[in-house]
């Protein structure tokens, strides 16, 4: 029986920096795709999130990833709030754990940022805005 992803958050939630989450396990066997789980990625001094990163190592693998996660076939970056158990499913914030999914065509990479509460969601948006504002055009 598959363990629901929401119940198997992994790493920092259990105080273990190297515990593999169900999300990581689900993607780690994908062919030609480097998969990593960054535990406790710091968004600011007090808030961190767990991230699963998928990086395609070939065009075919990237096409497969895009299809699997229903990524728009555009250039640049696509992002959405996804369901924890089915990241391809677009969702709205309802106070329950969600994934912020960001797909970068340039890097052929997808980041799945696990948001367990509003504090993490706020910190993630703050992080994005703060960094983007300071980037040179």
């Amino acid at each position: 029986m598959m363990l629901p992803l929401a119940l198997a958050a992994g790493c920092s939630h259990r105080g273990e920096a190297d515990a593999e989450s169900a999300l990581y396990k689900r993607f780690s066997a994908l062919p030609e795709t480097a998969v990593a789980q960054v535990c406790g990625f710091a968004l600011c001094d007090t808030v961190s999130v767990d991230v699963v990163l998928l990086q395609a190592e070939s065009d075919a693998a990237w096409e497969h990833l895009k299809e699997m996660l229903a990524v728009d076939d555009t250039t640049g970056v696509t992002s959405w709030l996804g369901d924890t158990e089915e990241p391809a499913t677009r969702a709205k914030w309802d106070g329950q754990p969600k994934l912020r999914v960001v797909a970068s065509h340039a890097k052929r990479a997808v980041g799945l940022y696990r948001l367990d509460d509003e504090r993490q969601y706020d910190a993630l948006l703050d992080y994005q805005m703060w960094k983007m504002e300071r980037k040179e055009l």
């Binding site: 970056v77 970068s104 940022y113 992080y127 994005q128």
Partner: protein, 92 residues
Amino acid sequence: MTTFDKKWEHEEQQGLLQRLRGERGTWAKRRRTQRTVLATVAVLAVAAVPLIDYSMAADKRYDGVVCNRSGIADSHWADVAGHILTVKSYEL
């Protein structure tokens, strides 16, 4: 001034000089010790600079990384996690 007075004055001067010499010696010794301590601290500080891992001390951005590939530095993944969050949509 009598001979006695002269001798008395001489002895007084000698005593004063002796006290001053003693004080000066003690002071010089303290100064030497201070300089030695300061020099030792400076040398140790300079020698320790390359030994300090600034990346770990000041910029620890994650708790740990698990990966299905070997040979990729953990910091690479932290960089990717930060980078794709902040790529503007028009950046290719």
